[in-house]
């Protein structure tokens, strides 16, 4: 049977167990949209800006633990996806982005809405393709999904010229994918693992450092088992929050620039660090020369380039986190349980002491709302069960500090690239993946305006998300740096000119609410969470509240500003 390129594309997407895609039509993809309208089992969510489509696909992938898909047109449609792709690349999120392209005969002629998107996205995709031959279409789509989700996941872009979508061929089911040059290593070297067993038994001050890789490989259970079996305290990077239960007594909180005192002190003093699925980003390590000076580091990662990129590693292990930890745990089970638990009492007491001397705190008075208080109240009202997305800046750090994540895939944030405008479209993607869950975007008054148009998507596509705006009328994180390091020269960070968010919500057909006093916080949140449909809850908060603790850029983790 002869099928058009567009038909083959839709068929191949559906064969990947994808039920929802996010997109925006345009001239070069009309054939695909024509076909989509005939496929009611593949839901298309019409965003209002292509960047939103990619962030939504990113969050969909994370909330569901599968692959997210975005579809956009050529030229500006394609370039608008770049921020979303770069963010997914930094966070290793499996998405496939389909872009329209001008007909093959016009490529290279500076045609209307032509752009070399394959060239543009080469450095920020795991891989990308231009499909010039319809015979290769099905195979390429299948490969794109395979590459996106295998090994260290990441975004893959497939550029689709209009004539290839319109052409017809006899469709043949593509064969299973084998790529001669791409074979990720899942199984760890067992000799290395027996070294780790010895290191654990000898360690007096061990620490587990979990990252996004633990969540991506679905290894939360394994990392939790390891911690409990060997009595090792756990810290997790921003991307790893939820990989280990935040309510566990072994939980130390997040390390790094805005990490907890005890997590950073533990990093600075541990004698063994078992790092799984982390890449030792500068926001985590602080001054690299002074990072974990006493620790022998065991690093588990599926991507060899992550190992020894930033820090020296005593025991490198290339492998999938889940498989590696599973084998490690079974090896530890064969050992004497007492030896595995070692002598950790002194270490645990030291950590308790750090916790007691410098807990994370803020002072809520009767007059002005503290942003941290809003998040703590949100945590209590949602019983910690909501999926939280964030924008970037202070809102993101407070969300990470005060919402205690017990489960993976519940904290969705643009960790590596730090994209303002991520949270709202991401909330839509998460809601589409998990309709039964409460999804809350924790936003600032600055970043919410970067993709505010997606409110229309939320209302139209019936994706009722809740948006908490912590309104301090500043670009708060930049203001904080200006206060601390630039003599309070608040250059261009004052955002007193802002829309009326209640009216804005109403203009889009959503509901708007506002709280100005601490006494109104709980009531507003509880009302907003109960209200049907999409709701903006605006909280007028302390203008010059800063995120603490803080390790100034370029300082060692143990040199924190506590305030």
């Amino acid at each position: 049977m002869k099928l058009s390129g567009a038909k083959i594309l839709v068929k191949m997407i559906k064969s990947q167990n994808v039920d929802t895609i996010f997109g925006y039509p345009g001239g070069a993809v009309i054939d695909i949209y024509d076909e989509l309208s005939k496929n009611h089992d593949l839901r298309h969510i019409l965003v209002r800006h292509e960047q939103g489509a990619v962030h939504a696909a990113d969050a969909y992938a994370r909330a569901k633990g599968s692959v997210g898909v975005a579809l956009v047109t050529s030229g500006p449609g394609a370039t608008n996806t770049v921020t979303g792709i770069a963010s997914a690349y930094m966070d290793s999120i499996p998405i496939v982005v389909f872009t329209g392209q001008v007909p093959t005969a016009l490529i290279g002629n500076d045609a209307f809405q032509e752009v070399d998107i394959v060239g543009i996205t080469r450095p920020c995709t795991k891989h990308n393709y231009l499909v010039k031959d319809i015979e290769k279409l099905a195979k390429t789509v299948k490969q794109a999904f395979y590459i996106a989700q295998s090994g260290r996941p990441g975004p893959v872009l497939v550029d689709l010229p209009k004539d290839v979508m319109a052409a017809k061929i006899d469709f043949k089911e593509p064969e299973d994918i084998t790529l001669r040059s791409y074979k990720p290593t899942y199984d760890p070297n067992k000799k290395q693992l027996s070294k780790v067993v010895d290191l654990i038994k000898k360690a007096k001050k061990p620490l587990i450092f979990a990252g996004g890789g633990v969540i991506l490989s679905k290894a939360s259970k394994e990392i939790t088992d390891l911690a409990n079996m060997a009595d090792i305290p756990v810290t997790a990077s921003l991307m790893g929050l939820g990989a280990f239960p935040g309510s566990s007594p072994l939980w130390l909180g997040m390390p790094g620039m805005h990490g907890t005192y005890r997590a950073n002190m533990s990093m600075g003093n541990c004698d063994l660090m078992i790092a799984a699925g982390v890449r030792f980003d500068d926001r985590v390590t602080g001054k690299i020369e002074k990072f974990a000076p006493y620790a022998r580091i065991v690093q588990i990662d599926i991507d060899p380039t992550s190992i020894r990129k930033n820090v020296d590693v005593a025991c490198p292990i290339v492998g999938d986190c889940k498989q590696t930890l599973k084998i490690l745990n079974s090896m530890l089970k064969d050992e004497d349980p007492k030896a595995v638990k070692g002598e950790r009492e002194e270490w645990m007491q030291q950590i308790e002491q750090w916790k007691a001397t410098s807990p994370q705190r803020y002072d809520q008075n009767d007059d002005i709302i503290k942003p941290q208080y809003v998040i703590e109240q949100l945590y209590e009202l949602t019983e910690g069960k909501a999926i939280i997305t964030t924008e970037v800046g202070q809102n993101q750090m407070w969300a990470a500090q005060y919402y205690h994540f017990d489960k993976p895939n519940h904290f969705i944030t643009s960790g590596g690239l730090g994209v303002m405008g991520f949270g709202l479209p991401a909330a839509l993607g998460a809601k589409a993946a998990c309709p039964e869950k409460t999804v809350v975007d924790i936003a600032g008054d600055g970043s919410i305006q970067m993709n505010i148009q997606e409110l229309m998507t939320a209302v139209e596509s019936k994706l009722p998300v809740k948006i908490v705006i912590l309104n301090n009328r500043y670009l708060g994180m930049v203001r904080q740096w200006q206060e601390l390091f630039y003599d309070k020269n608040y250059s261009c960070t004052n955002m007193e000119m802002a829309p009326d968010f209640i009216k804005l919500a109403e203009a889009y057909g959503a509901t708007g609410m506002k709280a100005t006093k601490p006494s109104e916080v709980k009531e507003t949140l509880s009302k907003g969470l109960k209200t049907k449909g999409t709701v903006i809850m605006e909280f007028i908060v302390e203008r010059e509240e800063s995120v603490y603790p803080m390790v100034p850029a370029g300082r060692a983790l143990t040199e924190m500003l506590l305030v």
């Binding site: 450095p123 231009l130 040059s181």
Partner: protein, 163 residues
């Protein structure tokens, strides 16, 4: 800091854009390419890239890993510490006034290279060899006045183990 030269031999899929992926990796991450040569291998669907790069051990390790991570890269071998044969080809156009011609031809003879183009005022010399030989030849020709040089960059293959 030790920034030794490394000679990498990289086998890649012969597909459009592969060279750009490799060049982009180097520019994006701030690595250095001293010379680069690309040509088909014995298999029509594969190309070999021979590259001379510089860096300390840490950077070279990252370069090799990052190259290997590219989907179109099949193998990356660092020939530096192995036994290998390396050659480079150069074309050197040099001023050849009548009184200098004999001297130039003597040099050509000593270096076992060839004159491939002759004019009233110039010779074009074809030379192949390792970097040291090319450098020595150019030094000797310099006083005559070198007009233009075209070089291929190094190409290399590992030696087979002799039994």
């Amino acid at each position: 800091m030790n920034t030794d030269k490394h000679l990498l031999s990289i086998v890649v899929d012969d597909e459009p854009g592969v060279l750009s992926r490799i060049a982009g990796l180097f520019s994006g991450r701030g690595y250095n390419i001293e010379s680069l040569s690309v040509a088909p291998t014995a298999r029509p669907d594969l190309s070999r890239i021979t590259m001379v790069t510089r860096g300390d051990d840490h950077i070279i390790e990252q370069i090799k890993k990052q190259l290997h991570k590219l989907i179109n890269v099949l193998t990356v071998s660092d020939l530096t510490d192995k036994k290998y044969v390396m050659r480079e080809l150069a074309l050197i156009k040099v001023h050849a006034k009548p009184e200098q011609r004999a001297e130039i031809l003597r040099i050509v003879d000593i270096f076992r290279c060839r004159v491939v183009d002759v004019g009233h005022e110039h010779y074009t010399i074809e030379v192949s060899g390792d970097e040291g030989k090319l450098k020595a030849l150019m030094n000797l020709l310099k006083p005559m006045g070198i007009i233009e040089i075209a070089r291929t960059g190094s190409i290399a293959l590992a030696r087979e183990n002799s039994k």
